[in-house]
C-alpha cells in the first residue's frame, strides 16, 4: 500500500444544535448516490418467521480444532476454517494480508502462555479534539478492531464512522510503526424522522462489526437504532484517462469532434479511499437495535433489539428471519428485555443473548426455527446479603462477549465482570469487581441515571486478560491467570509519547493515600463505555467521550 494522503487528525465537525444538519460537510467519496445499494420496499414486508430452519447457516459446524494453524499458538484464532459464504476468506484471516508476521505474533503468543510479568502500558496516540466543551455529535459510541487489527473503526453520535489504519513499518519512519492514522471517514447514518409518531430516529452508531477480509476491499456493518448498513471501503489508486466520449473535465464531447478512437489508459493517481454503502437492512426492528454479530459462516448475521432478534443473510436486504421474540402478548407483562446478543465464534448455529435481569440464554438454531426456548440458561443465584432496592437494576447485563476460543463468555453488569464457562450454567467461573466502591452510592447513581450506563468489555487475543471501563476515565484490566487487576486512566496528562501509564487507585477506606482518588471526587461524566483490544497484539483502544486513546504494551 502506498502513502496515504489523508489528514492526520480527526476532522472536527460543527456542533449541530438543531437536528437539521447542514449538508455541506466533507464527505469521503462514497456518498450514497455513488454506490449501488438495494433499497428495501416500504413497510415491513419482510419480517416473516423462518420456515424450517434458516438455510444459509447450514448444519456445518466449525470446531475449534480447525483453527488457523500456527499463526497464533497461544491466541485462539477468532475465526476458524474456510467459510461457506461470499465473504468467507479463502485463507484464514490471521495469515492473510499481514506483511509483518511471525515476530509480532510470537510475542503475542508468548503473552498467551501466561507470562508472569505484568503488562505495562504506554501511551501511543490520542485522537480527537482537545476542547473542553464537547459537541454531542463527536461522542464516540463504538470502537472495533478488524480481524487483523490493522484497521480500527469508531462510530460516533453524529452517525459518522472513522476508520484508522495502522502504519506499516517503513525505513523512513521507523518510529511510527504501530501508529494509527485516519484511513477513511464517512457518514454512515443520517437522522431520520418517523412521521407517524413524530419521533426522531437517532443517527448514533450503536455498533460496528467488521467482516473478514476476502479481497482488497474491507467490509463492515454499522447500525443505529433502526437500520443496519453494510459498507465497502476500497482503495483507488488508478484512474482511467483518454475516454472517447468524455473530456478530461468529464463533459460530453460533441460526436462530430471525435475524429479518432483511442483506448483509455490507466494512470496512477493519489490514493483515495472510498466508502460506499452496499446493503441497507431496514424496517425489521420495532425497538432499538442494541447488538449486531457476524456469524462464523460469514454469510449471515444477527441483529438484536430490546425484544427481538433477527437473522439476516448478508446478500438479502428485504427479508430477515425472526429467531427470538420475547415480547409478551400484553405489553404490561413485560419485565425483561434483551440487552446484548452474539454468535458463537466457531459454531454457526449457536448464539447467546443477555437480559436486563442478569441472565444469559444460549440458543441453538438447529433445534427450532424460533429460538424462544433456550438450550442453556445461565444465571447466578442472588446473594441475599447484598440485596438492595437496586439489585435488579445493577444485575442488568450491558454486554456479552465470547472468548476467542469459544469456551468462555464474559458478561458485564453494572459493578462487575463475570466469566462463564458455557458448559456450566449455574454460576460464573470468575467474577471481577470493577468498581465495588460504588455499591454504597447506588441511590445517588440511580438518581442521576448513571446506574443505567452500559459498559462494554473485551478479551485480549489470547483470552488471558479482560478489560472494561469505569468512571473518571478509568479503565480496568483483569489478568485471569494471576489473578491481577490494574486500573489505568485515559487522560491528556499522561499522554506523552511512549509515556508509561501509571496504575491508579481509588481510595475506599477513610484514609486517603497519596495519589489515590476518593470516591466522591470521581467524575461521573467521564465514563469509558467502549474499549477494544487488538486481536493479536497488546494494543488497546479506549474511547473517552470524544477522544480515542491508543495504548500499546511497553516494548523494550
Amino acid at each position: 500500500m502506498g502513502a496515504i494522503l489523508k489528514p492526520r487528525t480527526l476532522p472536527r465537525l460543527r456542533a449541530a444544535p438543531s437536528r437539521s444538519r447542514p449538508r455541506s460537510r466533507p464527505r469521503s467519496r462514497g456518498s450514497p448516490r455513488h454506490g449501488r445499494s438495494v433499497s428495501p420496499p416500504g413497510p415491513r414486508a419482510g419480517t416473516g418467521r423462518a420456515g424450517p430452519g434458516p438455510g444459509p447457516a447450514g448444519p456445518r459446524e466449525r470446531g475449534a480444532g480447525r483453527a488457523a494453524p500456527a499463526a497464533a499458538a497461544g491466541c485462539g484464532a477468532r475465526r476458524a476454517g474456510p467459510g461457506a459464504g461470499r465473504f468467507a476468506p479463502s485463507v484464514p484471516p490471521s495469515l492473510a494480508h499481514r506483511p509483518f508476521s511471525s515476530a509480532v505474533v510470537a510475542r503475542a503468543a508468548g503473552d498467551g502462555g501466561g507470562s508472569s510479568s505484568e503488562v505495562q502500558w504506554c501511551f501511543l496516540q490520542v485522537k480527537g479534539a482537545i476542547d473542553e466543551d464537547v459537541a454531542e455529535a463527536d461522542i464516540i459510541s463504538t470502537v472495533e478492531f478488524n480481524y487483523t487489527g490493522d484497521l480500527l473503526a469508531t462510530g460516533d453520535k453524529g452517525g459518522r464512522v472513522v476508520i484508522f489504519q495502522r502504519e506499516q513499518e517503513t525505513k523512513s519512519r521507523p518510529l511510527s510503526r504501530g501508529e494509527y492514522n485516519v484511513y477513511s471517514t464517512f457518514q454512515s447514518h443520517e437522522p431520520e424522522f418517523d412521521y407517524l409518531k413524530s419521533l426522531e430516529i437517532e443517527e448514533k452508531i450503536n455498533k460496528i462489526r467488521w467482516l473478514p477480509q476476502q479481497n482488497a476491499a474491507h467490509f463492515l456493518l454499522s447500525t443505529n437504532d433502526k437500520t443496519i448498513k453494510l459498507w465497502k471501503i476500497s482503495e483507488r489508486d488508478k484512474r482511467a484517462e483518454g475516454y472517447n466520449l468524455k473530456d478530461e473535465d468529464g463533459r460530453l464531447r460533441e460526436p462530430f469532434r471525435v475524429t479518432e478512437l483511442r483506448v483509455p489508459t490507466l494512470k496512477p493517481m493519489d490514493l483515495m479511499v472510498e466508502a460506499s454503502p452496499r446493503r441497507t437492512f431496514a424496517n425489521a426492528h420495532t425497538y432499538h437495535i442494541n447488538s449486531i454479530s457476524v456469524n462464523s459462516d460469514y454469510a449471515t448475521y444477527l441483529s438484536a433489539d430490546d425484544l427481538r432478534i433477527n437473522l439476516w443473510h448478508l446478500e438479502v436486504t428485504n427479508r430477515s428471519f425472526n429467531i427470538v421474540d420475547i415480547k409478551p402478548a400484553n405489553m404490561e407483562e413485560l419485565t425483561e428485555v434483551i440487552t446484548a446478543a452474539e454468535f458463537h465464534p466457531h459454531h454457526c448455529n449457536v448464539f447467546v443473548y443477555s437480559s436486563s435481569k442478569g441472565t444469559i440464554r444460549l440458543c441453538d438454531m438447529r433445534s427450532a426455527a424460533l429460538c424462544d426456548q433456550h438450550s442453556k440458561f445461565f444465571e447466578e443465584p442472588e446473594d441475599p446479603s447484598s440485596r438492595s432496592f437496586f439489585s435488579e437494576i445493577i444485575s442488568s447485563i450491558s454486554d456479552v462477549k465470547f472468548s476467542h476460543s469459544g469456551r468462555y463468555m464474559m458478561t458485564r453488569d453494572y459493578l462487575s465482570v463475570k466469566v462463564w464457562d458455557i458448559n456450566m450454567e449455574n454460576r460464573p467461573v470468575e467474577t471481577y469487581q470493577v468498581h465495588e466502591y460504588l455499591r454504597s452510592k447506588l441511590c445517588s447513581l440511580y438518581e442521576n441515571d448513571c446506574i443505567f450506563d452500559k459498559f462494554e468489555c473485551c478479551w485480549n487475543g489470547s483470552d488471558s486478560t479482560i478489560m472494561t471501563g469505569s468512571y473518571n476515565n478509568f479503565f480496568r484490566t483483569f489478568e485471569r491467570n494471576m489473578p491481577r487487576d490494574t486500573t489505568l486512566e485515559a487522560s491528556r496528562e499522561s499522554s506523552k509519547p511512549r509515556a508509561i501509564l501509571k496504575p491508579r487507585k481509588v481510595c475506599t477506606t477513610g484514609k486517603r493515600k497519596k495519589d489515590e482518588i476518593t470516591v466522591d471526587s470521581l467524575d461521573f461524566n467521564k465514563k469509558i463505555l467502549h474499549t477494544a483490544w487488538h486481536p493479536m497484539e497488546n494494543i488497546i483502544a479506549v474511547a473517552a467521550t470524544n477522544n480515542l486513546y491508543l495504548f500499546q504494551e511497553k516494548v523494550n
Binding site: E332, C443, S444, F452
Partner: protein
C-alpha cells in the same frame, strides 16, 4: 390544568429528592420504610418523566417498573402480616382482605367482585407507609407524592380491558373520595398504563393506536372549550348525542383511526379529569 400543576410540584419534588438520595447513601440511620419510600418516589418520578418524553427508553422503564413492583410487593406483604394499621390516625374501616392471592404482583386483575376488594386492600396497604413518611417529608411533597403514587400504582396493577373497571367505578361503598379518585385515575391510567411499554414501538403496525400513549400526548392541552363535543369514550357510557353514529365505533382503540379521533379520545379523558377535580374540590 391538573397536569401543569403536577409538573411544577414535581420539579420541587425532584430537588428535594436529590438531597435525600445522598442522605440515603451516606446515612445508615434512615429507617428502612423511609428508604423504601424514597426509592419508590424516585422510581415513580422517573417514570413520570419518561412518560413525558417523546421517546422513552424501554430498557430503563422496564427496570424501574420492576423496582416499583418489587417495593410494592414488599409493602403488600408487610401489610399482610400487620393487619392493624401502623398509624393510629387512619381509621381502618372494615377490612375485607381477600387474601391477596399470589405473592407476585399479578398484572391481570381478577375479574368480578374480588377485584374491587383487592383494590381496597391495595389502597390500604399503600397508604400506611405513606402516612408514616408524612412525618419526615413536607406536605407539599407528600401530596404530590400521594397523587403520583396513587396514579401510577395501578399502572403496574394493570389493567384488564376497560369494561372490567366499570362496575367497580359504579359501586363506591366505603371510601368515597380517595377511592373515587383512585378509580377515576384507574380509568385514566388504563390507557396510560398500557402505554408505558406500549408506546415504545417504532412501527406503523395497524394496532399502533392501541399502544399509543394517548393520554400523555394530550394531557396538558386545555381543551375545555371542546368539552361539549367529545365522543363516546371507550370506558364510560356514551354521553354526547351530538356526534355521528359511526364515531363511537371509531374511537375504540382496537380499530384503526386517525389522529383526529385521538384528540376526541383525549378530550374524553380530560373531561374525566374535570370530573375528578369536581370530586376533589366540590364535594
Amino acid at each position: 390544568m391538573l397536569g401543569r400543576g403536577l409538573k411544577r410540584k414535581l420539579s420541587d419534588y425532584e430537588e428535594s429528592m436529590a438531597g435525600l438520595s445522598s442522605a440515603f447513601d451516606s446515612s445508615r440511620g434512615l429507617p428502612y420504610p423511609l428508604k423504601r419510600q424514597l426509592v419508590l418516589n424516585m422510581c415513580l418520578t422517573k417514570l413520570q418523566t419518561y412518560k413525558m418524553l417523546v421517546e422513552p427508553n424501554l430498557h430503563r422503564s422496564v427496570l424501574i417498573a420492576n423496582t416499583v413492583r418489587q417495593i410494592q410487593e414488599e409493602m403488600r406483604q408487610e401489610s399482610n402480616q400487620q393487619p392493624v394499621s401502623i398509624c393510629p390516625g387512619i381509621a381502618p374501616a372494615s377490612h375485607s382482605y381477600t387474601g391477596l392471592e399470589s405473592p407476585g404482583i399479578s398484572l391481570q386483575l381478577p375479574s368480578g367482585v374480588g377485584q374491587q376488594e383487592s383494590h381496597c386492600c391495595d389502597l390500604r396497604s399503600v397508604e400506611d407507609p405513606i402516612e408514616n413518611s408524612l412525618l419526615i417529608v413536607s406536605d407539599d411533597d407528600m401530596s404530590s407524592a400521594i397523587s403520583s403514587i396513587l396514579k401510577d400504582l395501578d399502572f403496574v396493577e394493570d389493567i384488564s380491558p376497560p369494561t372490567c373497571l366499570v362496575p367497580t367505578g359504579d359501586d363506591q361503598p366505603k371510601f368515597p373520595e380517595n377511592t373515587g379518585l383512585k378509580l377515576e385515575d384507574d380509568r385514566q391510567d388504563l390507557k396510560g398504563a398500557e402505554c408505558v411499554f406500549g408506546s415504545f414501538e417504532i412501527s406503523n403496525s395497524t394496532s399502533y393506536l392501541k399502544d399509543l400513549a394517548i393520554d400523555d400526548i394530550f394531557e396538558d392541552i386545555d381543551t375545555s372549550m371542546y368539552d361539549s363535543d367529545f365522543c363516546c369514550p371507550p370506558l364510560m357510557p356514551p354521553r354526547s348525542p351530538s356526534l355521528a353514529t359511526e364515531e363511537p365505533l371509531k374511537t375504540f382503540p382496537s380499530c384503526n383511526s386517525s389522529s383526529a379521533n385521538n384528540i376526541q379520545i383525549c378530550r374524553t379523558d380530560l373531561s374525566e379529569l374535570d370530573h375528578i377535580m369536581e370530586i376533589l374540590v366540590g364535594s
